[in-house]
Each structure stands twice: as structure tokens, then as C-alpha cells.
Symmetry: C2
Subunit: 134 residues, 2 copies
DNA sequence: ACAAAGGTTTACGTTGACGTAAGTAAAACG
DNA sequence: CGTTTTACTTACGTCAACGTAAACCTTTGT
């Protein structure tokens, strides 16, 4: 049962990141692996956090922004004020994300139109298209 | 009719970017304003491109990636090979964008769940919530 | 016993995307 | 006609997010 602990190397392989990255995240207080002597041991909690970190990164959140969002996960006993602040911050983020999705829909539409246009252009020039396997 | 030309300062105000940014984009061949002596004059085409650049940036495209995508807009007379390459590149991008949208939907869902959880937590602690105007 | 494997800290290097400052030149205004 | 305004080039600075190298432990297999 005590074996939900992972070494740094195992983490690297599981999440496809470098050891440097994990140590860097720790230095920025995004992760807090426990220590066995010198060595880091990453818990389930660390893995959950890392998943969120990597997900956040895909959408252009800075590490500092991610750090703030991560706080929300562990505020059970914190002060009310801070909780409320984070709650409001989360609301703002949500609004941003929804706006971002609308824009993304637009970008996808634009690109699809362009592809259709390019397709016609290619047809008119008799360029064979095929899939891509030569 | 020759007045779809804008100075750098006008561009800055219209798009809320700095002059440095516009010159930087030119140096990276993302923009190609015409010159009147030393001075840059930005055409409608430049503005269309800048719109796309800024839009692309919102979704984490690097300037180099954006540059490649921009090529598609002006390939009318180019070689077929290049056209085909770009066409395929656009297809890949499209797939990426759609995947990104799916992930974004997931992030939005997660955040909404968290907000609901935080809301309950706050209710249980009798923290007043209100809108935010106070 | 000892070398290879895996881990550590410390610290300088790098890349992308600009910021910022210095020093000119041209143009528009009072 | 002098002086602000606007713009230009050149070039060094910056910040985030790591990469990379050096120098060092410690365990583990043979």
C-alpha cells in the first residue's frame, strides 16, 4: 500500500518530461515530492498535480498561474478569504476559457475554409492529392 | 483609394501592439509593409496578416508556425509541390486544433466541477458570495 | 571491490518574443 | 526656423521555462 511512490526516473517515463523539469517544478512549488534521504519520491498527489500542470500548459497558462490554480485543490482548511479569492479567480478563468473556445471554433472554421479553397485550387491545377502514403 | 495605408503608430493603436512588435514581425517575415523612404506603410494585406498572427498567438502557435501558415494565403502562383505540402500541413494543424478543442472542453468541464465543489465548500462555511460589486 | 546506474546540487547557457535605450533623420507645427 | 513628434536602425537586456555540464554521492549488480 505504501507503494504509490515513484522515483524521478519513473515519473519521467510516465509523463514524458525530463528530471530537470520535475526539479524545476518543485523549485517553483508546483510539486512537493517527499524525500528519502536525498532522493525524491513522488506520490499520487504529485502525479495528480503534474497531470494538471501539463494540461494547463497546453492552454497557455504560465507556471505561476497554474500554481495559483493548484492551490484550490488543497484549501480545505484555509482561510475563507483566500478561498473566496480563488473561487473568483476560477470564475474568471472559466469565462476566459469559454471565450477561448469560441475563438478556437472560429480558427477551426477559418482553417477549414482555407483547406477547401486550397483543395479547389489544387484540383484546378490537376495536382493529385491522395492520403499521404506516397 | 490609396488610403488604405497606415503608419506604424496607427497600427499600434488599432491592434494594441508596440512598434517594436511590428518591426519584429517584419524582421521575421510575418509582415511586409511597403516603404516610403525610410518609413513603413502598412497595407490592408498587412492588417489581415496581423489579425491572423494575433489570433494564432492566442492558441500557442509560435511565430515560425504562424509564418508557415501565412504562406498559404499567398500561394496562388506558387509551385504545386509547395502548395501540396502546405495543404497537408494545414490538414495536420486542423486535426491538432480539433484535438485541442476536445481537451479544452475537458478543462472547462473540470474547472466547472471544481467551482461547484468550491461553491459547496463556501456554503458550508457560510461565506457570502454575491456577484463581486462591493 | 569497483564500476555502472541513478540520483543530487549548483550554476551557467539557450530560445522565443519581445523591451528598452542610444543616437539619427525627416516631417509637421507654432 | 527652431523644436517637438514620429519614425528609423542598432544593439544590448529581460523573462519564462527549461537544457546542459560539472562535480559529487549512493546503491546495485558482477
Amino acid at each position: 500500500m505504501t507503494e504509490d511512490l515513484m522515483t524521478i526516473r519513473q515519473m519521467c517515463e510516465a509523463f514524458d518530461v525530463t528530471a530537470r523539469t520535475l526539479r524545476f517544478y518543485e523549485s517553483k512549488e508546483l510539486l512537493a515530492p517527499i524525500r528519502q534521504g536525498q532522493k525524491r519520491l513522488f506520490t499520487k498527489k504529485d502525479r495528480a498535480r503534474l497531470t494538471l500542470i501539463l494540461r494547463g500548459k497546453k492552454f497557455g497558462f504560465s507556471l505561476e498561474e497554474i500554481r495559483q490554480l493548484l492551490e484550490m485543490y488543497h484549501m480545505q482548511d484555509q482561510q475563507a478569504t483566500q478561498l473566496k479569492t480563488t473561487y473568483e479567480l476560477a470564475q474568471k478563468r472559466l469565462a476566459q476559457l469559454i471565450a477561448q473556445r469560441e475563438e478556437l471554433d472560429q480558427v477551426i472554421q477559418d482553417l477549414q475554409d482555407q483547406i477547401a479553397w486550397g483543395y479547389e485550387l489544387m484540383r484546378s491545377k490537376n495536382i493529385s492529392i491522395k492520403s499521404s502514403d506516397e
